[in-house]
Symmetry: C2
Subunit: 97 residues, 2 copies
């Protein structure tokens, strides 16, 4: 069982993230990434897919042409865990290239 | 401008597709594909991405772990066109391996 973030951890960690919104219904982090075109978007997804598989922590995501919408939450925790914070940071690093 | 499918073309073509549903609000084709795991799902998406880029006809799609939901429509036609029928068949061929 993975621990859900405590209120204290949320206050400390969520403000340190870059542009991720908190979605209260799912207790998830969401962010939209926009690229020049489909090749940019899918290239980004491919890099994130490799990180996600390595971490065994997979995003819920959708893609329409140059846009990628990502939602991160931890099913085993029933909400946000430290793993989502780490994955959000890794995804941002990929997006920055 | 790409031509929207006529009623006659719809009657002829849609029943020939394998498991694609017609979504009337978007005038789109939708289908869910399920794989053993994330690697199976994302491997499938990667093959479809290459086909889509080659055809310059991109799906709207989402992925949650081993599941991929695809929606096909032709924005330039304001609904279904021959290009969606062709892409649906190509995607099915990829899924069959």
């Amino acid at each position: 069982m993975i621990a859900k973030l405590t209120d204290g951890e949320r206050s400390d960690l969520l403000p340190t993230l870059d542009g991720w919104a908190h979605e209260p219904q799912r207790d998830a982090l969401t962010k939209r990434f926009t690229f020049d075109d489909f090749v940019g978007a899918f290239g980004f997804m491919t890099q994130v897919a490799l990180l996600a598989e390595k971490a065994d922590h997979h995003p819920e995501w959708s893609n329409v042409y140059n846009r990628v919408d990502i939602l991160l939450t931890t099913h085993d925790a029933g909400g946000l865990s430290q793993r989502d914070i780490e994955m959000a940071r890794q995804i941002d690093a990929v997006a920055k290239g």
